[in-house]
């Protein structure tokens, strides 16, 4: 029971941070032109919303298998958080641009934390048997 709500709260918070990092906390470069970082911001808002919603959904299910499945999904969402600025949509190339100096490091931190939370939770659920809570 405790694990269910703690992990759901962590995912919810992580999803919220993925949305807030490129928009409010460490915003991407401001420009009238739509640069690569603008599209990364839009994509991160979408991925963040999915992480947040899956966090809420995981609190609703007591079945461990379902929650383990959600953890796997969150693991890949975490990988997506990292892949967007590095590979898929990219950021500005100059290292002193706001998106490169602030947004990218913050996304690395939250992306890695999502991977760790999802991975550890999956391991925990897999190792504690199939009894639901």
């Amino acid at each position: 029971m405790k694990n269910r709500f703690i992990v759901a709260a962590l995912f919810l918070l992580a999803g919220l941070l993925v949305i807030l990092i490129p928009t409010v906390l460490f915003p991407v470069c401001e420009s009238e032109m739509k640069m690569a970082c603008y599209y990364t911001k839009q994509a991160e808002i979408g991925v963040g919303a999915v992480i947040l919603l899956l966090g809420i959904v995981s609190a609703l299910f007591s079945e461990k298998r379902t929650r383990a499945g959600i953890s796997i999904a969150q693991f890949f969402n975490g990988a997506l958080v990292l892949a967007l600025p590095f590979k898929l949509t990219g950021l500005c190339k100059m290292s002193d641009m706001a998106c490169k100096a602030k947004t990218q490091p913050a996304l690395i931190v939250i992306g890695v934390l999502i991977l760790v939370i999802a991975g550890v939770n999956f391991g925990y659920l897999a190792s504690t048997g199939s009894k639901d809570d």
């Binding site: 640069m35 190339k93 100059m94 002193d96 100096a101 934390l113």
Partner: protein, 401 residues
Amino acid sequence: MIKSKIRSILSGVKSRIFYSTCLVITTAVLSFMLFSGSIIKSSLNKGMDNMDRRLGSDIMLVPKGSREEAENLLLEGQRGTFYFDGSVDDKVKDIEGISEVTSQCFLKSLSADCCSSEVELVFYDPDTDFVVGPWIETNYKNSLKKDDVIVGSDIVTENGTIKLFGKDYEVVSQMAKTGTALDSSVYFSSESMASVIADAEEKNSFLTEEQKDGDILSSVFINLNAGYNEDDVIRECHEKAGDVFDVVYPKQLNESLSDNLLRITDIVGAVILIGGVLLFGILVLINSVIIESRKQEVALLRVLGNSKGKMAAMLISETGIVSLFGSLVGCLLGALIVIPFGRYIGMSLSMPYLGPDFIGSTLQIIFIMAIVFLVALVSSIVFVFHVTGIEPYLALKKEAE
């Protein structure tokens, strides 16, 4: 045998989960602090050493009114678009006391999609240069040809070429990392300047009248012969070239930065020291509670035939494993935050900052883990000897009472 020992140590840790968690958190915070502090300190020092090498001239002449921009160029590598007449270097080169003169001209790439392709263009004279050369990583001895470029370490090239204003240029060499905006510069020979400006005009990039004119320079770097006074040489330069320039003294700039660095590293050191002492106190407190609460358990095990040494080893192993785990968590968390945010830290402090490489970070993690492990052992050793030294009979009698 080893497996069963590890299992018994882990079950001991699990049975005191609250105190073990406190120990993990304390060692993690201590390691985080030590790791982050040491990485920031060493990166600032490395950035400063790099700057020492980058400030490759005794004096630097820049257009009048652009001294501040020029100082930013030296500190953070950010180039401005300031210009004076292209003949300034010729006018001053024969002045007595000047040993070397070289000039550079800066131009920002103003292509449409700013971020994906904007770079700073630097035109320099490879024949007289003594500023760019020391930064070229690969051995590139040939003189730079017209369509060749040298690029900063952050510039991504495609198949050894880079496209600027619609034209492909061959990348003949890449500069070493400086940790500043210099890393996103492209270096051309001065003879390419006219054609690059023509290409930029053709692509409708915004250029000022000065830039279109082409016969311009952004800075003149001068080295003096030993024994000559800087002020005398500058007076002579003013006489020959007119009152068109301001003077930047890279070495003075370096000294003031060194003072700043010293102040920053002092603050980092003080925070680490105070925090470290505080956390050591907390570690002593936690260890005293954990180990003292095990008096009876140790006494019972000793009655069953275990030696004092074996009991001490068991207690020390438990503390060691928990502190190593905490230390690893703290170091990884520190690496996760401090390494990616390196550029931002440097920008916030207005200091040159050159982050550690993978091997350097790994060695630092191992070093910090070893230190924290030793600190945890020192903080527990008195209690371990005290608990294992009590006569089993007395300890058990106390429990019975």
